[in-house]
């Protein structure tokens, strides 16, 4: 009778040699895909409020209004009469556009009223006044 020799099997184990590769890959992915928001010239100190809700980013168009009265929509500086034209174009692209005001707390309200009138003329009626959460 021939006896079958049992061959010694190596102990099975999960290969962990590539764990560092996976981790570095994830790390590099996050480093590369992170986009930092640059605020180059426009510095705005937003007012604080309690009753604030999250604004859906995909419909938002940010309007910066500085204390000195500079207006910027999507990084383009413009004057009050141009707001209506720009926002009409935005409305044609996205019907649910929300104009988000990032206004300095010391800005004159009259300027804001003028911009809001321009938005009304452009039929951009959804607005949101951005604020920081009061702690």
């Amino acid at each position: 009778m021939a006896k079958i020799n049992k061959s010694k099997r190596p102990i099975p184990g999960v290969p962990d040699g590539s764990t560092s590769d996976i981790a570095f890959l994830l790390l590099i992915f996050f480093i590369v895909s992170t986009v930092f928001v640059k605020e180059k010239i426009i510095k705005v100190k937003m007012p604080k409020a309690e009753s604030i809700d999250k604004i859906p980013r995909n419909h938002a168009v940010t309007i910066y209004v500085t204390q000195a009265g500079q207006i910027s929509i999507d990084d383009y500086a413009l004057q009050i009469p141009d707001v209506s034209t720009v926002m009409t174009k935005k409305l044609n692209i996205d019907y649910n556009v929300i104009s988000c005001f990032r206004t300095d707390e010391n800005t004159n309200y009259g300027l804001m009223a003028d911009i809001m009138n321009q938005l009304r003329n452009a039929n951009c009626l959804r607005v949101s006044f951005e604020a920081k959460r009061k702690i």
Binding site: A23, S51, I98, R120, V127, S128
Partner: protein, 135 residues
């Protein structure tokens, strides 16, 4: 006579902890990355007036006029009111009449922050029908 040379083990950089280091960095970046979230007070502006606009006159009992002057002082229905008491006052008005419309009229010379803090109090008090205007 000569001392026997001991067999040295081959040198190598220990790589066992590379994955630990990579994961540590990954977790650091994941936890410190702060997304630029947008929070604000959403409002809908009134549609632009045209010839076809039907004007509906509000009854005086359904309307509360809130005036904010350039110093941030508040007047509700012709009577001055301290900022701290505004929320409770509005709350009682909303409780008595759910159709109450608040006309928030801010001076053009007033700061944007003055309007925002009043608007915040109105929203906190549960006011839903808010109209913004200026002089």
């Amino acid at each position: 006579m000569f001392p026997q040379k001991t067999k040295r083990k081959p040198c190598g950089v220990p790589t066992g902890s590379t994955s630990d280091m990579a994961f540590l960095l990954l977790i650091f970046f994941l936890s410190t990355t702060k997304f630029d979230m947008k929070y604000g007070m959403g409002m809908v502006l009134p549609a632009p007036t045209s010839e076809s606009t039907v004007k509906v006159k509000l009854k005086d009992e359904n309307m509360t006029k809130i005036l904010v002057n350039k110093d941030g002082q508040i007047m509700v229905n012709e009577s001055s009111i301290p900022f701290e008491a505004l929320k409770d006052h509005v709350k009682s008005l909303v409780k008595n009449n759910k159709d109450m419309v608040f006309l928030l009229k801010t001076d053009r010379q007033s700061n944007y922050a003055n309007m925002m803090r009043v608007l915040d109090q109105l929203r906190l008090a549960g006011a839903e029908k808010i109209n913004l205007s200026t002089n």
